[in-house]
Structure formats: C-alpha cells, structure tokens
C-alpha cells in the first residue's frame, strides 16, 4: 500500500469574480522515502494542494490518506516548511525553535534539547544552536526551519517553495544540503516549486500542474543517478521535457 494517497482531490472557492476551481481532481500516490516535486506556474494549485495535504485547508471533494488514514486537520505525522523566513519564532533560539514540536509532545527539556541539537547537526548549524533567528542569514533560518519540521519525526515533510526567497548561490547550496538530508533520513518529501531545474535536481518524480483549473497534467519520473549534475545532457533533457509540459519549451529557455 502506498504511504500517501491523493484521491480525486478538489478545492473550489468563491471570489467576487465567481467560483474558482483551485484544484480539480488531483490524483496520485506516493511511496515511503520518495521525493516528489509539485511543479507549475503560479495559480496552478500546487501550494493549495500542499496546504490540503498539510491539513490547513479542507478539500471540497475527494480525500487524502496517509498510511491508510484519512487526513482531517493538521497533525504531527506531517512536518511543514514554509517559504517565508519569518516562520521561525523570533523569541526562541535556533535550538528552542527546533525543540518546539517535541515540547508540544510533552518531552522533557534535556531529552528534547539533545534531539534538537542532533537535528541542527544534520543541517550543519550546531554552532548556532544558541543564536536567535534575527542573527542568522536567510539560508540559515530556512535550515533551522527544516530541522524544526524534522525534529518530531513526522512521516512526511511538506515543503512550500522553501528556497524561493534565497539568492541563486545560496539556493544551490541549500538544494545540495536538502538532498543530503533526504539521503540521511530517508524521509518522504513533497516539495512545491515553480523552478524546473530545482525539481529535476531533487525529485524522484515530478508532478506537473497547470492552472485554470488547477489540474495534474503529467507525472514524470526522474531516474538520474545522484548526486545529479545540473549541467549534464540528461539533466537538461529532463528540464526541457518539463518545460514542454508547461508550455514554455519552445520560445523561452529556462
């Protein structure tokens, strides 16, 4: 049985301009330890779909099952990383942020801080355990956010364009780091992005979505060996294929 089943999920909402179909009939499955990217232009419903999986939004049709259990509301089987750096609590140190979920679970201080420190090691920030977020760079803050979402050991990690607000060089470093973290932890990850190269670099499988209404257009497995070389011919071929699905292949180079 697949770990995650997205079963004919739809979400419609009303706007002054009429009823909008944010997501229509999205269906796909995910195996454990798979890295899945949702790719598409803005308005294609990829973030909406992620928010439904996270339990922040309730679908108007269909359902999502994790481990066979229907999702309703958010739960600790899912960890979430947002795009905005401000997601960290400014009044807590890096360590305090990472330990938050374990604290909510009622774990003792010593134990949770030990686990939090291990998580910070995983993202190479153990030296900054006692720093407050405002003393960390954007990339470091996002690494803390990743460690925070992993600390309470959720079955799935949900990431909503976590590196979109970073500069290009930092973003490359972060993608490498995330690929390492994924390899080390074997976590199941759903990653939303509008960046095709990022999807080809990270994913086992890419789900391409298109807007009006937001639908799944294609599922493309990426079988390239890891670590991947973004300048290799095969890598560029995959990128080109994705761009074609998005209707951007002919005129514009990425």
């Amino acid at each position: 049985m697949p770990l995650i089943e997205v079963d004919d999920v739809s979400l419609a909402y009303d706007t002054p301009a009429g009823r909008v179909q944010g997501v229509l009939g999205a269906t796909f499955n995910m195996e454990e330890s798979e890295f899945l990217c949702l790719v598409g232009p803005s308005g294609c419903g990829k973030s909406t779909l992620l928010n439904i999986i996270a339990g922040f939004l309730t679908p108007t049709g269909g359902e999502i099952r994790i481990g066979g259990k229907k999702v309703s509301g958010h739960g600790m089987d899912r960890g979430v990383v947002f795009q905005d750096f401000a997601q960290l609590f400014p009044w807590r140190t890096a360590l305090g942020n990472v330990a938050f979920g374990l604290e909510m679970k009622g774990m003792g201080k010593e134990e949770r801080e030990e686990i939090a420190l291990q998580q910070l090691k995983l993202v190479k920030l153990e030296k900054f355990a006692n720093s407050y977020p405002h003393h960390l760079s954007g990339g470091m803050q996002q690494r803390v956010a990743i460690a925070r979402a992993l600390a309470y050991n959720p079955a799935v990690l949900l990431m909503d364009e976590p590196f979109a607000a970073l500069d290009a060089m930092t973003r490359d470093d972060m993608q490498r780091l995330l690929a390492d973290v994924w390899k080390t932890t074997g976590k199941t990850i759903i990653y939303v992005t509008h960046n095709v190269a990022e999807a080809v670099y990270l994913a086992d499988r890419v789900i391409v979505m298109t807007p009006h209404p937001g639908t799944v257009k294609a599922e493309i497995p990426i079988m390239l060996p890891r670590p991947r070389d973004p300048l290799s011919l095969e890598f560029l071929e995959h990128q080109k294929q994705l761009l074609n699905y998005l209707g951007q292949g002919t005129s514009k180079a990425a």
């Binding site: 979430v80 401000a86 997601q87 609590f89 009044w91 909510m104 407050y132």
Partner: protein, 283 residues
C-alpha cells in the same frame, strides 16, 4: 524605538550584551550632552532666582532646595511620602495589567468581546483621570482607595489598547507553524501569542506606567491625606514652602525616570530587543 516587520533578514545588529567600545563611547557622549543641557537649565534657573526680582520664599535658590531635600531625606519624611505614592501607583498599575492584558487578548481573539468593549474603551479613554477625582472622592472617600482607583483608570486603557493591537499583529505564520507542530489552544496562547505580542504589551506597560505616575500625583493632591508626594506638594502651598514643592518635584521626576529607564528599559532590552522584534534607532 522602531517596530520592524518580521522579515527575519539578518540585520547584522550587535545584541545588547556585546561590549562594543565605539558604542560605549557614543553612550558616554550622549550622557555628557544630556548633562550639559540639564546643567544649563539649572544655571538659568539659579540666575533668575538670584536676581532678587522674586521673593526668595517663592523662588528658592538651588542650594536651598537641595538643603530641604536632604533634610526631608534624613528625617525619613520624603521616604514615607515616596513609599505611599509608590504603593498607590504600583497597586493601581498592577490591577491595570491584571485587567488590561487579558481583556485586550480577549478583544483580539473574540469578535463579540471586541464589539462589546471597544465602544466603551473608546468613550472612556479620552476622559482625563484627574477629572474623575472629585466624583470618586464622593464615592470612595479620601485616601488610598480613591487614588488607587484613579491610577487604575488612567493605566488600564493603554494596556488594553496595546495588548489588543499586539495580539492582532501576531504573525499568522507562527500560529500555523505552531499548530502544525501540535500546539493546542492553551499552548498556542502561552508559547506563541503572548511572546508574539510582547513588543506591544511592553509598550503598553510603559505607557500605562507613565499615565499612572502622572495620575497618582494629581489624585493625591486632593484625594489623599497626610502622606504622598502629590499631597506634600499641595500641602506646602499653605505655608508658601516652594522649596518643599520643588524638592518633591525632583523626587517625582527621579522616580519616574528610574522606572522608565531601569525597569522598562531593561525589560525591553532583555526580551524584544534581544529577539530582534524591536530595535533601537539607527543613529
């Protein structure tokens, strides 16, 4: 004091604990400049007092005021007056926090509470607390009760207003992230909303105390008997003791300054400034 949006971008600011020689030199320069300003103001006063154009009893020289101040400090009377006033102001201020902070939070969280209290708060807030002293004297008599209620009245509204604004300005992303990590309503309140609203709550406490301190001196002038810094000033007019008035004013100014700088200043430095949620002006 500047509020910053929660961009989280690395501001590169030194945190309050780091001893920075350039910063220390700058703060000494600031102290020296303040001393020059105050020194000049005192010298001007002294000059006018010594021209003899006004009776000495009404415009005493600074050495006379200092002598009176020391005499009152030594015989313990100034201490007693200060203790009475502090008791009243802290009691009223404490009540204002106990009522204002929870009410502000409830107003921000529940629309019905907001709809009910907001008109009341808006209508009562502009009434000067001093204008209520005669009425409260009729109701509650002369003494501690009336002055404490006046202080409470003056201090509550800024506390309510700032808390209300603070809770509404808590970043929704923090609530979402905390919810995803399994925080229940109770934990969300103590671990996210209160610290998230703390820049506003601390500003509210500051404004409240300032208003409380102004109110207590005024209220004591007519609604207190025998003790209190406000009372001693008002009583001194019967005997034309301008020196006592000015000495008491100096003590009032000093205590107010100490609270503002030491109590609320360190509270701010230890919390919201340390967390980068509030920072000092750039230059």
């Amino acid at each position: 004091m500047t509020m910053i949006a929660q961009t989280g971008a690395n501001t590169g600011l030194q945190d309050g604990k780091t001893p920075d020689p350039a910063k220390r030199a700058a703060s000494w320069r600031a102290i020296r400049r303040a001393a020059i300003t105050i020194g000049l103001a005192l010298a001007t006063y002294e000059l006018i007092a010594r021209t003899g154009s006004f009776p000495r009893a009404l415009l005493p020289t600074i050495p006379m005021i200092v002598r009176t101040l020391f005499a009152m400090l030594l015989d313990g009377s100034m201490l007693m007056h200060s203790m009475y006033t502090l008791y009243r102001v802290l009691f009223g201020f404490f009540l204002a926090m106990v009522v204002g902070i929870p009410l502000g939070i409830l107003m921000a969280r529940f629309r019905r509470v907001e709809q009910f209290f907001l008109p009341l708060v808006s209508a009562l807030m502009p009434i000067p607390s001093f204008a209520l002293v005669p009425l409260f004297m009729l109701w509650f008599g002369i003494g501690n009760l009336t002055t404490i209620i006046i202080v409470f009245y003056a201090a509550t509204f800024p506390m309510i207003f700032n808390t209300w604004s603070g809770v509404r300005s808590v970043n929704p992303l923090w609530l979402r992230a905390a919810g995803a990590m399994g925080a229940d309503e109770h934990k969300l309140f103590w671990k996210v909303i209160i610290p998230g609203a703390s820049p506003f709550i601390i500003t509210g406490m500051r404004q409240s105390f300032l208003r409380a301190w102004i109110a207590v001196v005024g209220a004591e002038m007519i609604a207190a008997s025998n003790w209190g810094l406000g009372w001693v000033i008002f009583d001194a007019k019967e005997f034309l003791n301008a020196d006592i008035m000015l000495a008491s004013l100096a003590v009032i100014g000093f205590i107010g300054f100490a609270f503002e700088r030491l109590v609320f200043g360190s509270l701010e430095r230890g919390t919201v400034m340390r967390w980068g949620m509030m920072r000092s002006a750039k230059s």
